[in-house]
């Protein structure tokens, strides 16, 4: 991992199109300004982590049990 020390209002450039500005530092928070092309995905890490975790929870594993689960699920949906 590359570690850089920056002061408020200083910038870091990543590639030729991504620019990160340190806007504000207060106690345990850092406010960042990010300039990037629309094609660059920028997400809070926790959000992707949560979705990944939900995906892993959603994996029903071997088809074991599905023969019970699916008809029950369908029945519930129809009754809803």
């Amino acid at each position: 991992m590359l570690i850089l020390t920056r002061k408020v209002n200083e910038r870091v450039i990543i590639g030729s199109e991504v620019e990160i500005t340190i806007l504000k530092v207060s106690r345990d928070k850092v406010k960042l300004g990010i300039k990037a092309p629309e094609s660059v995905m920028i997400q809070r890490n926790e959000l992707l982590q949560s979705i990944g975790q939900e995906n892993r929870r959603a994996a029903v594993g071997p088809l074991n049990g599905l023969e019970r689960l699916l008809p029950a699920l369908r029945q519930q949906l129809q009754g809803a």
Binding site: E38, S39, M41, Q43, R44, L47, L48, Q49, S50, I51, G52, Q53, E54, N55, R56, R57, A58, A59, V60, G61, P62, L63, N64, G65, L66, E67, L69, L70, P71, A72, L73, R74, Q76, L77, A80
Partner: protein, 156 residues
């Protein structure tokens, strides 16, 4: 009648099994790229996605428009380009379903649905922006309320 066999997926009675490819895998599971989309007329709006390389990964997916009134999916230009989507008519949108012990609390991930271009079978789990759809939307609205951690909001 859906007759899912415990042992072999080949024994699943299905009307259709199509191979779809997620170039970047699922979110948090990037190694899972190629899936069989398994559907049976009887089982709609529920389908299955089974990983081809790791068959023990099976996901239950549902047509989100059937469970959430006015569900709105806006596919970004970048995602559309990545999937080669030319027309909305080619796109199949699916929400991944999580089934807990108590089936009444089944949830669907409305924030990051799966989008499949049915013309070329390219798929992606996209992340909707500017929405506050939950990743754990309760599918059965009249079931008793379960205590669980707060809903997740889209970063803005």
């Amino acid at each position: 009648m859906i007759t899912f066999s415990k042992e072999a997926t080949e024994k699943i009675a299905v009307d259709s099994r199509q191979i779809v490819t997620f170039n970047s895998g699922l979110i948090g599971l990037p190694q899972l790229k190629v899936f069989a989309l398994i559907e049976d007329e009887e089982s709609l709006p529920i389908r299955l996605l089974q990983c081809v390389s790791t068959p023990e990964f099976v996901f239950i997916v549902i047509n989100p428009f059937t469970i959430y009134p006015n569900y709105d999916v806006e596919i970004s230009d970048e995602d559309a380009a990545e999937l080669g989507v030319a027309s909305a008519a080619d796109v199949l949108v699916l929400a991944i379903v999580t089934v807990p012990e108590d089936i009444r609390f089944v949830t669907a991930n409305l924030l990051s649905p799966i989008v499949i271009n049915m013309r070329n079978k390219r798929a992606k789990q996209i992340l909707l922006s500017d929405t506050d759809y939950p990743i754990n939307y309760r599918v059965l609205r009249d079931a008793p309320v379960e205590r669980r951690s707060g809903r997740l909001q889209v970063a803005s």
